[in-house]
């Protein structure tokens, strides 16, 4: 019974203080639009970087003297090494074809009697091994294997890739925390104003013997409902912006990163964004109630 009364009181509170409530809802919506847009951007950046990572591979150039059978054995040995996802064998002939594809013809090698390009093993790494440490471990385990002439791994590129992913995630986390704290303070102040505007009601409730819980729960529910509405508005705005902006930037993205299949939030992520609004509103109310005097 009391929870029904509390719910009715919180809806009444929102209706009666429409301007203050709208301010709180808009504040939460604005903050969540910023947080949502930032995390959507970072997630897509991280997605692009992860795709780059999937293309990350080491190349083990083989000695020309290794027999085809030994090459197969060598490929099996390398595939079993730590951090290796799969190994692809590139024969001398295939290496030549690739070179010609890249060079745009066979003029460069036309004067040579035989194919100078070595056979190689292209080593694809597991996601967790795409770090400088992972490469070092693999490097050590492949070092000295008979038949491998040279191991090319582009360590600097790998380190740069790992740094970029970490930076993107830290940026998203920082933006979320800073904006979240700002929103919390604004929401707490808005709720505090609502408390002040309704001080007569609080006084009367105290007079008729309302407990602290009876007084506080409607305000907490009010904050949560406002947050929920703010979260819903934010989700719609971010979705609208995503749908409007994506066609404009698709060509540019394809040119820069080679792909433009950016994704919106999944259902679970969308629900999380809306619920984080409710959480923000609830936390703001609690902050205001703890800071203020009620009953």
């Amino acid at each position: 019974m009391l929870i029904l009364i509390a719910f009715a009181n919180s809806l009444r509170g929102i209706r009666n203080a429409a301007t203050t409530s709208s301010m709180a809802i808009l504040t939460i919506a604005i903050v969540l639009v910023l947080v949502g847009a930032a995390s959507l951007l970072v997630e897509n950046m991280a997605g692009v970087l992860e795709e780059f990572g999937a293309e990350l591979r080491l190349t083990a150039y083989l000695d020309d003297t290794v027999s085809p059978e030994d090459q197969r054995h060598l490929a099996q040995t390398v595939a079993a090494a730590p951090g290796v996802d799969r190994v692809e064998f590139i024969s001398k002939k295939e290496a030549l074809l690739r070179f010609e594809r890249i060079a745009g013809g066979d003029e460069l090698l036309a004067g040579l009697d035989e194919n100078p390009l070595p056979a190689s093993l292209e080593i694809h790494l597991r996601p967790e091994a795409r770090t400088a440490e992972g490469i070092a471990i693999l490097d050590a385990s492949l070092d000295g294997l008979p038949g491998i002439d040279e191991l090319a791994h582009g360590q600097e590129w790998i380190e740069g890739y790992a740094r970029a992913v970490a930076l993107a995630r830290t940026a998203a986390g920082t933006i979320t925390i800073v904006l979240g704290l700002a929103a919390l303070l604004i929401v707490a102040n808005t709720i505090r104003l609502a408390l002040y505007a309704r001080r007569d009601e609080l006084e009367i409730l105290a007079l008729v013997g309302a407990s602290r819980t009876f007084v506080r729960v409607p305000f907490m529910l009010e904050g949560a409902i406002q947050g929920l509405l703010g979260g819903l508005i934010a989700l719609l705005v971010v979705f609208g912006a995503f749908e409007l902006v994506l066609p404009q930037v698709r060509t540019g993205l394809e040119l820069v990163v080679g792909r433009a299949d950016l994704r919106f939030f999944s259902m679970a992520e969308s629900i999380r964004l809306v619920l984080s609004g409710a959480g923000l509103g609830l936390l703001g109310s609690i902050t205001a109630l703890v800071g203020g005097r009620t009953a």
């Binding site: 009666n16 007569d200 009601e201 009876f214």
Partner: protein
């Protein structure tokens, strides 16, 4: 109330060494000039203020030592009426009265019927869906009185309940308060209206500068008085 004092600044007392015994079911007029300490005395009884010195026993509880968590339970047994009515303007008459039942979790259906019966007893059942601002001063005070009494409190405190009303409405409200007293509710009414005091012939406690200046016993026997 035993040797109770209340001071807001060192050496300046709103109440000074007041000892008072009010029996269950008794009707008491509290009188005195403005600033004599009438409101402070009432506020001490319903734990809106804490005494600086002394002890106050209300319904078997020592209000001077009451924790914040225990105050709501005390206030549910004490109805309070003020000169300015203290009604919520955005709520209907019924909702204002129901507030006292909502805080104790009375089921909605039961609350509605009790509110209706209470409003009927103060003659306002036909106005239950109106808002306070559309009512006259006397009607608003009757709503406040209904809210104070709907929970069947053991004590009713009224601070200048007729201060804003004309003489005819004053009698109307006072008759309702006296009626509550005849049902066994202890009533304390703070007023500076001597015509009222003379009309009802109840016990009168006169305060002067925070001290009891006079305690005149009732001219008529109190109903249901229990020491």
């Amino acid at each position: 109330m035993y040797h109770v004092s209340k001071s807001y600044m060192a050496g300046q007392y709103a109440l000074h060494d007041v000892s008072l015994d009010v029996s269950r079911g008794e009707f008491l007029f509290l009188t005195g000039a403005s600033g004599a300490g009438k409101t402070t005395l009432l506020e001490l009884i319903f734990a809106a203020k804490v005494p600086s010195e002394g002890q106050i026993l209300v319904l078997g509880r020592n209000v001077a030592r009451l924790g914040a968590g225990a105050i709501p339970a005390l206030r549910r047994r004490v109805g309070v009426v003020f000169q300015d009515f203290k009604l919520l303007q955005e709520r209907t008459v019924e909702e204002n009265v129901r507030l006292a039942l909502d805080v104790v979790g009375t089921p909605r259906r039961e609350a509605r019927s009790r509110v209706f019966a209470m409003l009927k007893s103060v003659g306002l059942q036909h106005r239950r869906f109106h808002h306070p601002l559309s009512l006259s001063g006397g009607e608003q005070q009757r709503v406040a009185l209904a809210r104070a009494l709907v929970n069947e409190p053991e004590i009713l405190l009224a601070d200048e309940p007729t201060g804003n009303l004309d003489p005819e409405l004053t009698i109307e409200i006072m008759d309702l308060i006296v009626k509550a007293s005849t049902r066994g509710t202890t009533v304390i009414v703070a007023t500076h209206d001597h015509s009222l005091i003379e009309r009802y012939g109840k016990r009168v406690l006169r305060l002067d500068a925070g001290r009891i200046a006079e305690d005149v016993p009732s001219a008529v026997p109190s109903t249901g008085a229990v020491s």
